[in-house]
């Protein structure tokens, strides 16, 4: 069992509240996943720049690493430090160089990259994880979160969701895939790389591969119905998009609320019960094997 939540704002007016709303949703889902938690938030982006999310033992280690990274790319890099995580802003052209430098270091790990996406995950109770990273004060247009009750791999930070395998792309998953080893081998032949043995990372990698090959998020998810086997409810974020897919027998629970202001996803209605205007929202269960996708222009 795991809990997943997602929130996609259709209007800018609630953007300052995004983190607070997502934080409440995540805390309620502690009952479904007390082992670890994670979330991705799509906030501000700057033209021509990329945000790299990295993790390390503590802030001092991260500050030292960011300074050194700045020397490597030849400019001071603005960064936000939150507990064991740092989000570094750098010119898009320097992304590959910076990622190689990060990969060469033993004291920090690459977590995700995007024009707008920031991604945090840690072991521990979801509420505590949200507090550590100050989710309640984060702003943005959409975000997704996950509370994990581990079944397929160990309780580690690297095994926590969301998984990000492409720029601004991330995915959370409730369920378990049965053919992930085979799919991983196919994707590795296509040049995709994986950080863990986790089944969910394969689903994320599959979508990133399809998008790389020219598919839209909706098309990639539709094709995953034929290629991924197992139980899943996926919630996926991209730079401007948000999507939901359940397996053909809808093994895992899902409920959604839509208003003029937002689309919200929860594993259970309890996770949506505190959202503003939810009593008047259109409440529905996503149908099995049906892709639901929203895009903000």
């Amino acid at each position: 069992m795991c809990g997943i939540v997602g929130l996609f704002l259709k209007q800018p007016k609630l953007e300052p509240e995004l983190g607070a709303m997502l934080s409440d949703m995540l805390a309620v889902m502690s009952d479904r996943g007390p082992d670890s938690a994670g979330f991705a938030v799509y906030g501000d982006g700057a033209r021509g720049r990329v945000k790299l999310t990295v993790s390390g033992a503590n802030e001092a280690v991260l500050r030292e690493a960011v300074a050194e990274l700045g020397r490597a790319v030849g400019e001071d890099l603005p960064a936000t430090f939150r507990d064991t995580y740092a989000v570094i802003s750098l010119p898009a052209l320097k992304e590959q160089q910076a990622r190689s430098s990060i990969a060469a270091r033993m004291d920090i790990s690459f977590v995700g990259a995007g024009k707008r996406m920031e991604l945090y995950k840690e072991v521990g109770l979801p509420q505590r994880v949200a507090q550590r990273f100050g989710l309640v004060r984060m702003e943005g247009s959409h975000g997704i979160g996950h509370t994990r009750m581990a079944t397929e791999s160990a309780v580690t930070t690297r095994g926590a969701h969301p998984f990000s395998t492409g720029l601004d792309q991330c995915l959370v998953h409730n369920g378990s895939l049965s053919n992930h080893n085979g799919v991983r081998r196919v994707l590795q032949r296509e040049g995709m790389t994986f950080e863990t043995e986790n089944d969910t990372e394969v689903a994320a990698g599959y979508l990133s591969w399809k998008i790389r090959e020219g598919a839209s998020l909706k098309e990639a998810l539709t094709q995953s119905l034929a290629d991924l086997d197992g139980f899943y409810t996926f919630v996926v974020g991209t730079e401007s998009g948000f999507a939901v897919l359940r397996d053909p027998i809808s093994c895992k629970p899902a409920v959604m609320a839509e208003t003029d202001d937002y689309v919200a996803f929860g594993s259970e209605y309890r996770a949506l019960a505190m959202l503003p205007g939810v009593d008047k929202a259109h409440l529905f269960e996503p149908r099995p094997a049906t892709v639901y996708a929203w895009e903000r222009g």
Binding site: S250, V255, Y269, D279, L283, E285
Partner: protein
């Protein structure tokens, strides 16, 4: 009349009070506010009382119900009225998966739609869904009646034993060993009585339904299959 605000009172307190009701209790009308999608609200009640729940409920609301009438003004989560023995559960909104699962008796009425596996393994319960039902409904159904005013999803009645499935709209597909059946006078009278209990006798005609049931090829021994044993 007893009022319980689940925004303030713990759910266990409410359920403990309901479980403590004597058979001849005078506290026959309960109002529950702010259910907030909580799980197992009014589960295991065994008293002839009416419980009005104002809002959306989570999983297993009214599970194992005996004799009580439970009214949900909003939507219900997974397994509403699961394993009901008698009494009534009525949901004004939609119901999630496995509504009325394994129910042995009583009446479950859903005004909206029910999603996947409605009436799975039903064992004597009567279920009326005014909207449509999702895929794999009445899977391994054993007894009782499932009445659907709208449509039914894929694999209706897969591996069904002896329940009656009445559908007024379209059926996406039938599951293994589930077939359309001729409605006898007795079947029609049973349907009429279920519709009456759901207060639909005047607005819905039994003649508009198609009945489905078991072809009985799956659960009877057949000599052609002897090699499989």
């Amino acid at each position: 009349m007893s009022n319980v605000d689940l925004g303030k009172a713990p759910l266990r307190e409410l359920n403990a009070m309901l479980h403590a009701l004597a058979p001849a209790t005078n506290e026959t009308h309960w109002i529950v506010t702010n259910p907030g999608g909580k799980h197992a609200i009014a589960c295991g009640v065994d008293a002839p009382v009416t419980i009005d729940i104002e809002g959306h409920v989570g999983y297993y609301c009214g599970g194992m119900n005996k004799r009580a009438t439970i009214l949900v003004s909003g939507n219900a989560g997974v397994g509403v009225a699961e394993n009901m023995m008698s009494g009534e559960v009525r949901v004004r909104g939609d119901a999630s998966q496995a509504a009325g699962a394994t129910g042995c008796g009583g009446l479950l009425v859903i005004d909206g739609n029910a999603s996947a596996r409605c009436g799975i393994s039903m064992k004597g319960i009567d279920i009326v869904v005014k909207g449509s039902i999702g895929p794999m409904s009445a899977f391994m159904a054993q007894a009782g009646n499932l009445v659907v005013l709208g449509d039914a999803g894929e694999a209706l009645g897969d591996s069904i034993y002896e329940a009656r499935l009445f559908v007024r709209g379209n059926v996406a597909s039938l599951g293994a060993d589930c077939i359309e059946k001729e409605m006898s006078a007795e079947d029609k009278s049973i349907l009429r009585s279920v519709l009456k209990r759901a207060d639909l006798a005047d607005s819905v005609s039994p003649n508009d339904f198609t009945m489905f049931g078991s072809a009985r090829r799956l659960y009877h021994f057949h000599i052609d299959n002897v090699d499989a044993y």
